[in-house]
C-alpha cells in the first residue's frame, strides 16, 4: 500500500480537537453541586453511564470522520506485488542495435545482428519486443509486437550508417518512448560501447522507467584504425591531419583529390597523429571539391575518406558610389574591405553621375558614401535593383542634410539630428543581426552628427544612440535589402572609421550583403544545414549521390535539412550556388571501449533508479488500486451517522 500525498496524513492530528472538546464537555458541562445524591443514586447512575457511552460513540464517529478525511486526501493506493505484475505480463524488451559508423568494423555489425536475434529468442513468451536502430537518431525498426519471427526478419534489414551514437541522447529518447510500453521493461543495448559515446554526466545514461539494462558488447579485441582528424586550407595549399588509433605499426597512404583529380599522395607509418602538407596545388576558380582518402587495411573503412570545400574565388568587386572618388570615405572603406583575406572584396570607386547605372547589375551589392549625392534617376534604378535582389550599404553626409527626402531610402528628413560639438555614444544595438553579431566595441564610438529622419513602418532599427535616435537601420524590399547608416563615413561626423570595430563591421556587412556567408562549408553527419540563415528563401540541395534532397514544395518552404550522407552537397539559393562538405564525426573513429566496471555501474544504477521510482511514485503501468473513492464513501456514511447521533444528543438537551 502506498500514498500519493502522504503529507496529508499529518491532518490526522486534528483528531486531538474532538477528543479535547469531549474532555472539556465531560469535565465542565452542566456539572453542579447538589446537597445530596442520596435520592439520586442507582437509576441516574445508569443514565450517566449510558450517556457517557453515547458520547464515546459520538467521539469515535467524529475521530473516524477526521481520520477518513485525512486518509482520503493522502490518496492511498494498493500496489500490485511484483509477482502479480509478473503474472500479468512478461513486459517489454527494448532491443537497441547501435548502427553508428564504428559498428561498421569488419564483422562487428554482423556480430551485433546475431546478438539482436539472440535477445529476441531469449525474451520470454508473450513479451512485447521493440526493435530499435540507433545512431544519431533513434529509429523504430518495426512496431512493437510479440511476434518474434517478424522481429528476427527485420534484423536483416539493418546496416551501419554514417551517424554518431551518443548514449546520453539515446537514453533520453528511450526514456521518453518506453513509458508508452508495458512494464516491466528490459533494455538490451547491442553496441561496441565506444568511450567517446559516453556523455559528460554519467547520470544521463540511466533511463527512468527501465527495470533492467542488459549490455551486449560486440567487437571485442584491439582494433587498428587510421582516421582523418581534419583537412584545412592554408596559404600554401592544404593540410591533412591523420592519426592511428591502433597498437600496430601500419602504413597509410593519404591521397588528395581536387575536383576528382588526383593531386598528391603522402604516406605515414606507426602510431600517433601526423600532419601532412600538400602544396603547389592547382585549384580551379570558385569552390573546389577536395577529397582525402586513406589507403590502408585497417578495421574501419567508413572513416577513410574526408571531404572538404576550398574556395578559390577572385576578389569580388564592390562598387563604391561617391561624389568624391578621392575623398576620405573611399579611403576608409577600401582599407577596411582590403583587410578581409577570406572573402576577397575589392572596392571599385564609381563617381556618381559619371557611370552607367546598368553596370550595377553585374554586382551583388554596392556602397554609397553619401546618399544625398544620388540623383532621382539613379535612385529609381537603384530601387529597381534592390527589389530584384541587389543590396546597398548607404551612408548619409553633408549632401544628404540638404535634401528634404533621402534618395533611395525615401525617408523624410527632420529638422536636424544632434548638433555639432555634442557627442553621443551608441546606446543599444541588435546583437543578433548577422551584420552586427560578430562585432564588439560599439559603445566606444562617439557620434557628433546624424541625419534625423522620420522612420517608416517597415524600418528595422539596428542601432540607436544613447538618446534613442536611430543610427543604423535596415529596409527589406523584395529579395534585396538596404542598410542605412544615418551618419557620414567621415571623422568629422563620428569616430567610427578610426575604431577597430569599423573593420569588423565592414567584413560582416560585406559577407551579409554579398550572401557569401549564407552557408558554412564544413558539417558533420547529423548536423542541420540551415537554408535561411541570411533570411533568404530556401532553394535546392543536391546530395553527394546527385539526388535532389528537397521536393518541389520544400524548395520554397524548407528552412533546414539534416545531412546524413558523407560527401559534398551543392546548395542552390537565391544568393547563388555554394558547396558544403559533410563528414562523419571524428569521434566515431575513436574505437576505445568503456570499461567493464562502468558497464556494471550502468547496469546497477539503472536497476536502482527503477526501484527508487517504483517506491516513490505510482507507475501507471503497475495499475495500482486507488482506495480514496472507497474512503470517501465510508466518510459519507460516518458523516451521516455522526449527524444523526449528534442530533439525538441535541434533542435530549432541549
Amino acid at each position: 500500500m502506498g500514498w500519493l500525498a502522504p503529507l496529508f496524513l499529518f491532518a490526522a492530528l486534528t483528531v486531538a480537537l474532538p477528543i479535547w472538546l469531549h474532555r472539556l464537555k465531560t469535565k465542565s458541562s452542566d456539572r453542579q453541586p447538589f446537597s445530596s445524591a442520596m435520592l439520586l443514586e442507582t437509576t441516574e447512575q445508569q443514565v450517566h453511564v449510558q450517556k457517557k457511552l453515547k458520547y464515546l460513540l459520538l467521539l469515535a464517529l467524529r475521530v473516524a470522520l477526521l481520520l477518513l478525511l485525512a486518509l482520503a486526501f493522502a490518496k492511498p493506493f494498493l500496489e500490485r506485488s511484483p509477482a502479480a505484475i509478473a503474472d500479468a505480463g512478461a513486459g517489454t524488451h527494448l532491443i537497441v542495435l547501435d548502427t553508428s559508423v564504428s559498428m561498421g568494423r569488419s564483422g562487428v555489425f554482423e556480430q551485433g545482428r546475431e546478438e539482436v536475434r539472440r535477445a529476441i529468442d531469449d525474451a520470454p513468451a508473450g513479451a512485447v519486443i521493440q526493435l530499435i536502430a540507433a545512431d544519431g537518431v533513434m529509429r523504430l525498426v518495426r512496431p512493437a509486437s510479440t511476434d518474434k519471427p517478424a522481429q528476427r526478419t527485420a534484423v536483416s534489414s539493418l546496416s551501419p550508417t554514417s551517424g554518431r551514437l551518443d548514449f546520453g541522447q539515446l537514453m533520453a529518447e528511450i526514456e521518453r518512448y518506453a513509458s508508452s510500453l508495458p512494464a516491466p521493461r528490459t533494455l538490451h543495448l547491442i553496441s561496441d560501447f565506444q568511450a567517446s559515446a559516453m556523455p559528460v554526466q554519467f547520470a544521463d545514461v540511466i533511463p527512468a522507467g527501465v527495470a533492467s539494462f542488459v549490455p551486449h558488447v560486440v567487437g571485442t579485441g584491439d582494433p587498428v584504425n587510421w582516421s582523418i582528424a581534419f583537412v584545412r586550407q592554408t596559404a600554401d595549399g592544404i593540410d591533412v591531419s591523420v592519426r592511428n588509433e591502433g597498437l600496430l605499426d601500419r602504413t597509410v597512404d593519404v591521397q588528395l583529390r581536387i575536383n576528382g583529380e588526383r593531386a598528391g599522395v603522402k604516406s605515414a607509418t606507426g602510431q600517433g597523429e601526423y600532419l601532412l602538407r600538400f602544396t603547389e596545388l592547382d585549384f580551379a576558380e570558385g569552390d573546389n571539391r577536395i577529397t582525402v582518402t586513406l589507403d590502408t587495411d585497417d578495421d574501419l573503412d567508413a572513416d577513410n575518406q574526408w571531404h572538404a570545400v576550398v574556395s578559390n574565388d577572385p576578389p569580388l568587386p564592390v562598387p563604391l558610389l561617391t561624389a568624391e572618388p578621392s575623398g576620405l570615405p573611399v579611403t576608409y572603406l577600401s582599407a577596411a574591405l582590403a583587410s578581409l583575406t577570406d572573402a576577397n572584396f575589392e572596392v571599385e570607386p564609381l563617381e556618381i553621375g559619371d557611370f552607367d547605372p546598368r553596370v550595377l547589375s553585374r554586382y551583388r551589392w554596392a556602397i554609397i558614401d553619401d546618399v544625398g549625392a544620388v540623383d532621382p534617376l539613379l535612385a529609381r534604378q537603384l530601387d529597381e535593383l534592390i527589389t530584384a535582389g541587389f543590396s546597398l550599404l548607404v551612408f548619409t553626409g553633408d549632401r544628404s542634410i540638404e535634401r528634404d527626402t533621402l534618395p533611395v531610402s525615401g525617408h523624410q528628413l527632420r529638422a536636424a539630428g544632434i548638433g555639432s560639438g555634442k557627442f553621443l555614444a551608441i546606446g543599444r544595438f541588435d546583437a543578433q543581426h548577422p551584420a552586427l553579431s560578430a562585432t564588439e566595441g560599439w559603445h566606444r564610438i562617439h557620434v557628433s552628427r546624424t541625419t534625423a529622419i522620420e522612420l517608416d513602418a517597415d524600418d528595422e532599427v539596428l542601432m540607436r544612440l544613447e538618446n534613442g535616435e536611430p543610427f543604423m537601420l535596415e529596409q527589406r524590399r523584395g529579395d534585396g535589402r538596404l542598410l542605412l547608416v544615418l551618419s557620414a563615413i567621415d571623422n568629422s561626423w563620428n569616430d567610427l572609421p578610426v575604431h577597430p570595430v569599423f573593420v569588423g563591421f565592414m567584413i560582416e556587412v560585406a559577407q551579409y550583403l554579398s550572401g557569401r556567408d549564407s552557408t558554412a562549408d564544413q558539417y558533420t553527419i547529423g548536423d542541420v544545414l540551415p537554408l535561411s540563415k541570411t533570411g533568404s528563401a530556401s532553394g535546392q540541395i543536391i546530395d553527394p549521390d546527385g539526388n535532389s534532397v528537397l521536393d518541389l514544395a520544400d524548395t520554397r518552404e524548407a528552412q533546414a535539412i539534416r545531412l546524413d550522407i558523407p560527401g559534398i552537397y551543392a546548395v542552390y539559393t537565391a544568393q547563388g550556388e555554394a558547396l558544403v562538405a559533410a563528414n562523419i564525426d571524428p569521434r566515431e573513429s575513436e574505437l576505445g571501449r568503456i570499461s567493464q566496471s562502468v558497464l556494471d555501474r550502468w547496469r546497477d544504477a539503472t536497476y536502482s533508479k527503477d526501484q527508487a521510482v517504483a517506491r516513490d511514485t505510482v507507475n501507471a503501468d503497475s495499475d495500482p488500486v486507488a482506495l480514496w473513492p472507497w474512503l470517501l464513501l465510508l466518510l459519507a456514511v460516518v458523516a451521516i451517522a455522526e449527524s444523526a447521533l449528534g442530533n439525538v444528543h441535541l434533542a435530549m438537551r432541549t
Binding site: 452542566d30 453542579q32 453541586p33 445530596s36 435520592l39 443514586e41 437509576t43 441516574e44
Partner: protein
C-alpha cells in the same frame, strides 16, 4: 389606619429571606424578624405569647430575682413575682446542623444561612419569653456548644455561636446528640434545625433518647426550593457536596421521580418524628421566617 398598614407591610418584608440576606448583624436580623413577627401577631389567636400580665405569686427560692416586682415590695414589703401569660420559665436548646449539605441553596440565602436566621430568631423570641436559651452547632461532631441560660449577656454568646457556623463535613446525629444529652439533664424545648439527609433509623437513634429524656423536640426540616421543586432544563451532572459523588440526571427524572422521592423522604422524617413524640416542621428557604416561628409557637403552646 394607613400608618398601621404600612408598619405591617414593613414587618412582613423584614421576614423575607432575601431582605434579611442584606443584614450582616445576626442580632439585628433576629430582632427584626421577631419584632416583625410579633407585630403580625397583633390580635392574633395566639393570645398569651405577648408580655401581657397574668398574675402575682409569692417569691420562692430558686426564682429569678429579676422578676420580683419591687413596686409591690415597696408598698407591702413582700416579695412577689410578676408573671406574664407567655412566661413558661422553661429553656430552649437549639441544635443547628452545619454540615456541608446545609451550605447548598440560594440565592438569596443558603440553607445554613436561613437556618442561622431561624435559630437566631428563635433564640431572641425565647429570650423575650424569659426562657433560657442555649445552642449546639454540629455536623459529624459538636463544633460549638452554649449551655442554656436566661441571662441577658448569654444571648449575645448564643447569637455569636450561631453566626459563625459555616458548612463543614457530613452529618451524623448519633454522637453529637449523645454528648448533648450528657450536657443537658433538665427538661426543656429542643429545636433541631437540619436538612435531615439521612435515613430515618439514624435520625431516630439521635432523637429518640431525647424524647425519653423528657425533652420536647421540634425538627425544623430546612430544604431549598431547588431540592423541593427542582427545575432543570437539560441533563445535569449533580455532585454531592458531602461525598463528591456525581450523578447525571435528566430533567424528566428530576421533575417526576425525584420529587416523589423527596416527598417520601420528608414524609418518612415526619413520621419518624411523630413516632418519638417530636414535631416536624418543613421549612422552605424561599418562604418567610414567620411560618417557622408560627409553627414554633404552636408547638410551644401545645407543650405548655
Amino acid at each position: 389606619m394607613a400608618a398601621l398598614e404600612s408598619r405591617h407591610a414593613t414587618a412582613r418584608r423584614l421576614l423575607r429571606p432575601e431582605v434579611l440576606a442584606g443584614l450582616k448583624n445576626l442580632d439585628l436580623v433576629a430582632r427584626s424578624v421577631v419584632e416583625g413577627f410579633l407585630i403580625g401577631l397583633h390580635r392574633s389567636p395566639f393570645f398569651g405569647f405577648s408580655q401581657e400580665f397574668a398574675e402575682y405569686r409569692a417569691y420562692a427560692e430558686g426564682d429569678d430575682p429579676r422578676f420580683i416586682d419591687w413596686n409591690v415590695y415597696a408598698r407591702t414589703e413582700r416579695t412577689y413575682i410578676k408573671r406574664f401569660l407567655g412566661d413558661t420559665n422553661s429553656h430552649l436548646m437549639i441544635l443547628l446542623d452545619a454540615s456541608a449539605s446545609m451550605g447548598f441553596g440560594g440565592p438569596p440565602v443558603s440553607k445554613l444561612r436561613y437556618a442561622q436566621f431561624l435559630a437566631a430568631s428563635l433564640a431572641y423570641l425565647a429570650s423575650r419569653q424569659h426562657d433560657a436559651v442555649g445552642c449546639m452547632v454540629f455536623d459529624e461532631e459538636i463544633r460549638d456548644f452554649r449551655a442554656p441560660s436566661s441571662r441577658a449577656g448569654k444571648l449575645h454568646g448564643v447569637m455569636h455561636s450561631i453566626d459563625r457556623a459555616a458548612p463543614g463535613t457530613g452529618t451524623r446525629y448519633g454522637r453529637p446528640f449523645e454528648k448533648f444529652r450528657e450536657q443537658i439533664s433538665r427538661r426543656g424545648l429542643v429545636a433541631v434545625i437540619s436538612d435531615f439527609y439521612c435515613d430515618t433509623e439514624s435520625l431516630l437513634r439521635g432523637v429518640r433518647p431525647l424524647a425519653w429524656q423528657g425533652q420536647d423536640v421540634v425538627l425544623f426540616h430546612v430544604l431549598d426550593r431547588q431540592e423541593l421543586d427542582p427545575d432543570f432544563k437539560s441533563n445535569v451532572l449533580l455532585e454531592d457536596v458531602e461525598t463528591g459523588e456525581a450523578v447525571e440526571v435528566a430533567p424528566a427524572f428530576m421533575a417526576n421521580e425525584y420529587r416523589e422521592r423527596i416527598r417520601d423522604h420528608v414524609r418518612s422524617i415526619a413520621t419518624a418524628a411523630a413516632g418519638t413524640g417530636a414535631d416536624h416542621v418543613l421549612v422552605n428557604t424561599s418562604d418567610g421566617l414567620d411560618v417557622a416561628l408560627r409553627n414554633y409557637l404552636l408547638f410551644r403552646q401545645r407543650r405548655q
